[in-house]
Amino acid sequence: MARLHRQPICVASALLVPLLQLVAPSWLALDGVGPSWAMLWLLPWALVDGPVSGGIAGAALGLVLDGLSLGDVSQVPALVLMGWWWGRIGRRGAPIQRSLSLGLLAWIGTLVLGLSLWVQLLVLASSAPMLQAWALHTTLAQALITGLLAPMVGSWQLLLWRRRAPA
């Protein structure tokens, strides 16, 4: 079968990310902070489809999500970086499928995303101590909830997409 980015149904599944971002189910949040749906979708995509596809998918998702959110900070740099890095990991060595590995990768990815947003806030908004405390709290809470959800959501996506695009 063709690679993932040539299968319209697989590409269309990315539409779920902005949709879930808007729905923002409150019952799926840690102290009010929801998971990073972009990271949850991008991780299996990049692992299956490679670094270039992962980077481009990260940029595309980031642009859409930046359009849906207020403020000047952007998710694009972190999503491109993680898409590329996860793509490289997927292409080298044994296929990643263990729950712990998926959870750890999603946790690191969301941590990187949170740190990138934090740095942008420091430069663009303010360096008030309370803002820093809130940014740390949000980064850790989002990384934790994303890392916990990744094994459940990611392993199912990996199974589906590896069947459609075998290495």
């Binding site: 929801g34 207020l70 403020g71 008030a128 803002l131």
Partner: protein
């Protein structure tokens, strides 16, 4: 000598016959002096089971509410007329549009609401968004059928506010947390926890005299000026419907 020789025992007996009447007279005098207090209290005690029920109390309360609403409308009309004379209402007068909250992220990196009405309903950028109790944010972007609201708690949100008690201006800055920070413009502040924070009476960007928050804690050692943490009156994470103050353009 007949009267003067009246025996002592007979006088005592006549006094004994009279003294209850004297006491009664004294008691009645006390009743008169106290304006019948004892009777009124006794009547209240006895008639308590027959007092008007809660239904009548609600009627009275409803009438009081109606009276307050009427007075508020009259005062608002008067206020609008006076603001018109002062030429302050050019941007603040207008209708309020009811809009449903169709998506909300009160926590997290982006603290915003998505409303189910947009430019077709007359909503435009910078319109004030009001929840039950007070201001919660401002419209940042509009599509024909939706509006995106930046909450007052969001990092980067800044609005000018007014403390009615001390008659001082301040800047309300969102920090991401549930309690925004009130930054004062001068060093000498008399603000206390519990003080109301509202929009400025002379505001032309926001509706004037709109309640916003209540001061929770004050940091008088803030640099360059004191700061305070405030609690928003309208909690954005529990609101399904909001009002958007549409400006007349």
């Amino acid at each position: 000598m007949g009267l003067s020789q009246r025996p002592q025992g007979s006088r005592l007996r006549s006094f004994q016959r009279l003294w209850p009447w004297v006491i009664l007279l004294a008691v009645l005098g006390l009743v008169r002096l106290s304006k019948g207090a004892g009777f009124a209290d006794a009547f209240a005690l006895l008639s308590r089971p027959f007092w008007p029920g809660s239904a009548q109390r609600e009627w009275v309360q409803s009438a009081v509410r109606q009276n307050d609403v009427s007075r508020l409308e009259l005062l608002e009309q008067d206020n609008a007329r006076l603001r018109g004379l002062l030429e302050l209402d050019q941007l603040s007068a207008g209708d309020r549009v009811q809009a449903a909250v169709i998506s909300r992220t009160p926590s997290g990196w982006w603290q915003q609401l998505e409303l189910g009405k947009g430019s077709f309903a007359g909503i435009a950028k910078d319109d004030a968004v009001i929840g039950p109790g007070g201001l919660i944010g401002r419209v940042q972007s509009v599509t024909p059928s939706t509006s995106r609201v930046r909450l007052l708690t969001a990092p980067g949100s800044r609005i000018g506010v007014w403390l009615p008690r001390t008659r001082q201006h301040g800047l309300l800055a969102g920090l991401g947390t549930a309690r925004p920070q009130l930054q004062f413009l001068d060093k000498d502040v008399q603000v206390q926890p519990g003080d109301l924070v509202s929009t400025s009476p002379a505001s032309t960007l926001l509706p004037p005299n709109l309640p916003v928050a209540v001061v929770q804690t004050v940091n008088l050692r803030g640099v360059p000026a004191p700061t305070a943490l405030v609690q928003l009156i309208a909690p954005p994470d529990a609101i399904d419907w909001v009002q958007v103050q549409v400006q007349v353009r």
